[in-house]
Amino acid sequence: MTDGSRRGYTADEMMTVAASRRLADRAVCFVGIGIPSQAANLARLTHAPGSVLIYESGTIGAKPEVLPLSIGDGELAEHADSVVSVPEIFNYWLQAGRVDVGFLGAAQIDRYGNLNTTVVGSYENPKVRLPGAGGAPEIAASAKEVFIVLRQSKRAFVEELAFVTSVGHAEGGDSRGKLGYTGGGPTVVITDLGILQPDPESKELTLVALHPGATVEEAKEATGWDLKVAGDLETTEPPKEAELRVLRDLKERTAAARKEKVG
């Protein structure tokens, strides 16, 4: 992508800001670690102070001062509304339909928003063994909707997943509906180049917006399938000064906290 720094922000910052804007105030959001956690906390610290962030370690209404390195950092429990057990968070909260938004990352995604976080290569003889499922399959199954955030590249946006860890829109069309899941599946994929949304009928991910400076050619080049592009392609509003300030403060606080010798 065109050098974002000339515009005063990076492609990753644009991605995080664009992702954070999707989270409505007062939404109950089940947060994955990494960029999803950054975006969700940015939302909480800007336009969505009433959002309730849930981490799979059992923290409900987490309000971390600094970004957690893992889903079970003490920081998450410290200011939480409640802390419950792991069975409770998955059964009573997620499976019971109390989660509005599941916010996920992934190593690989396909055109229907199915995700792989398990292996690259074959399962028995993997080229790369990834961490595995964690909470993602049930977040993808039971959250009312799912936001996915990951950098766009041919390695990540693949024609066929090496392993389906979490189901998006399955094989497209109404195929997800036949799996018996109560959640609606992915509604948006935010990348460092733009924003993709499933087509209402086919459920195939379609490029609906480009971030400033990014081009359709770049987006197609960074996608392992023939990427569909919306006729009325929009341009994402660049990060506002306030959004960048809050995001950078958060990341600086986090970096400072992690540097401290704590052992």
Partner: protein, 285 residues
């Protein structure tokens, strides 16, 4: 009823070769002291169970303690891979690992079934994923009342569960607070239970988000101050994030890993000496 004993004695008496052993603690209160003791006693052919195999199982797998692994997420949180685990899966080093892979919800429900003395648990999940293709302990089941198609996973009943907690009282009741994860279910699903604690107190004070595991559910309590390091114990010490980062180059390299374990785990008497050993030698800086 729990007896307050030394950790060495607890592990020697309660963990056998070939056992299925669950060391639990969801980022918080990870029982590192007990894991090191199991490694030092050279227990072998263990089937290790844990939702989040992180550094603690990286060390055990790399030392050849495990023949199998039942899990749902294996990584170094926020840092990347656990390389001893990857080496075992990708190259069979030091020997192949029999994998039984689930999701967090599946694992959590398996423990609940185990703790409830039921043969299996039911959940909405796994359908449409590739996990049922590679894991035989995932099966479809039809609700006898509504006809809904659901997923069944078998109970987990480890031979031994090992957890770390903040406090025990003199009767062997155990108090933990903060993120308590899956520890209660892990303990109640197991045949034998070892708990390491930061300290023994005369009386528990109430803590927000706290639970107490009664002494009758526990076999041995051992006092191991800082026994969850480099993970954390809420209100005692924070997570040493720098250690997790510094582990990456050590875990990446078979030789460096072997030397580190030899020096700081096998070559010490216990966890207190381990902590001195890594601190004095600046091993993780």
């Amino acid at each position: 009823m729990a007896e307050v004993v030394g950790l060495r004695e607890a592990v020697a008496g309660l963990v056998d070769d070939g056992d299925t052993v669950a060391l639990e603690g969801f980022t918080h209160l990870i029982p590192f002291a007990a894991a090191h003791e199991i490694v030092r006693q050279q227990k072998k052919d263990l089937t290790l169970v844990r939702m989040t195999p992180d550094l603690v199982y990286d060390q055990m797998i790399g030392m050849g303690t495990a023949k199998g692994l039942i899990f749902s997420w294996g990584g170094n949180p926020g840092v990347g891979s656990i390389h001893r685990f990857r080496d075992a899966v990708e190259h069979g080093w030091p020997h192949p690992l029999k994998m039984e892979e689930h999701s967090h919800a599946g694992m959590a429900n398996r423990y609940v079934a185990g703790a409830s003395n039921l043969p299996f648990a039911v959940l909405r999940g796994y359908v449409g994923t590739d996990l049922p293709k590679v894991t035989s302990t995932i099966a479809p089941i039809t609700c006898p009342f509504t006809g809904e198609e659901l997923t069944a996973v078998p109970a987990l009943n480890p031979d031994v569960a090992v957890i770390h907690a903040q406090q025990a009282d003199r009767k062997g009741n155990v108090a933990l607070w903060g993120i308590t994860g899956i520890q209660k279910e892990a303990a109640l699903s197991a045949r034998r239970v070892i708990v390491t604690v930061e300290e023994v107190v005369d009386e528990f004070e109430p803590h927000t988000f706290g639970i107490v595991l009664p002494s009758v559910a526990i076999d041995a309590v051992a006092v191991e101050p800082r026994g969850a390091y480099p993970s954390y114990a809420h209100d005692y010490y924070p997570r040493d994030n720098a250690f997790y980062g510094a582990w990456d180059p050590i875990g990446r390299d078979r030789e460096k890993f072997g030397e580190w374990m030899e020096k700081h785990v096998l070559g010490v008497e216990g966890f207190a000496e381990h902590l001195r050993s890594i601190t004095q030698q600046g091993a993780m800086r």
